[in-house]
Assembly symmetry: C2
DNA sequence: CTTATATTTTACTAATTTCTGAAATAACAG
DNA sequence: CTGTTATTTCAGAAATTAGTAAAATATAAG
């Protein structure tokens, strides 16, 4: 397994971006590598290409599997584990959006429900309203997500594209 | 300036979530505090309520201003700077989405354009296609964003809500 | 100007996160 | 079983990021 310069650039970039996404560099690099790779790779090969510790690959793969971005497969006649990633960017997009919603939205929804329920007169009215509005908006986003994310691929694309003409339609 | 228990809970939670968003805890706490606060606050008051160093507040406020989430205002007869945040969650949403697009999408678009342009025969065809697809998809997302984010608030809400019925419409 | 107050910068410390290498565990082949 | 290869766990090193306190700078009042 050897990367062409363009592939290497892609992998390194994906790794850097990982930082801005809540995953660390190695995790993100491994994902990029598997995304590009034709065939499933062993942990050993990955460690080799990316020049990171074997143990680091092990934990990173575990994380990627927990996200549902990578799965373990086996090759007959080889007892080592091999790993592969979805090769479809839309599938990756779905998974990432879902996971980020879980981590970035859901806990706040829970909190806001608690706050709006418990806030009594000791909390200024304007503050209560603000929390209420925040909750309502986040619930709307969540509902839209719930509907849209279970569309088949073509449906998702179709809905997205309605956004392209939104301005025109609004007039 | 004293927080009610519910407000304190909100601020602390917002701070924790900050970590999952690419902003640090203090920045996020300050934002939450200003979001709830009726009146603009001075840096001193903020440091006081949140129990962090005055200098930390200074840099955090600078960052929030650079995001466009907080602005400096002045109160007649008081020479200290005061700070206030948008009180509308949708406005915050807009700003955050825009900023995250800048940080999380745009650099990758640039890279993918370079990769797809430069990738020649040394790069396997399947890999080139994959990069090409990734680029196309991210360009679609960007176009949708460009259209949608400049809608007036009512328009944005209207488009979002079309998503609520997307599944039904697709049948 | 001089002094008092407000703010920013900076050099350093603390906390957190990431990564490694070694040891432990597991899985299999002979 | 025993030895070999594969994988995971874990304690600590290295790197990064966040936060502090003090010094430097700026701003306005008298």
């Amino acid at each position: 397994m050897k990367l062409t310069p363009v592939m290497e650039r892609f992998v390194l970039h994906w790794g850097e971006m990982g930082g801005r996404w809540g995953v660390n560099r190695t995790v993100s690099q491994i994902h990029a590598l598997l995304y590009l790779s034709e065939a499933p790779l062993t942990a050993e090969e990955i460690a080799d290409v990316l020049q990171v510790a074997r143990s680091n690959v092990s934990t990173s793969l575990r994380e990627l599997q927990s996200w549902g971005l990578v799965k373990m497969v086996h090759i007959t006649g080889d007892r080592r584990d091999h790993f592969e990633a979805h090769h479809d960017v839309r599938e990756i997009f779905r998974v990432v959006v879902e996971e980020r919603k879980k981590r970035e939205i859901d806990p706040t929804l829970t909190l806001l429900r608690a706050c709006t329920t418990e806030a009594g007169n000791e909390t200024p009215k304007a503050v209560r309203e603000r929390m209420q509005n925040t909750l309502a908006f986040m619930e709307l986003l969540t509902s839209v997500y719930d509907e849209v994310h279970q569309l088949p691929d073509a449906g998702l694309m179709a809905w997205l594209k309605t956004g392209l003409k939104a301005r025109k339609l609004m007039r």
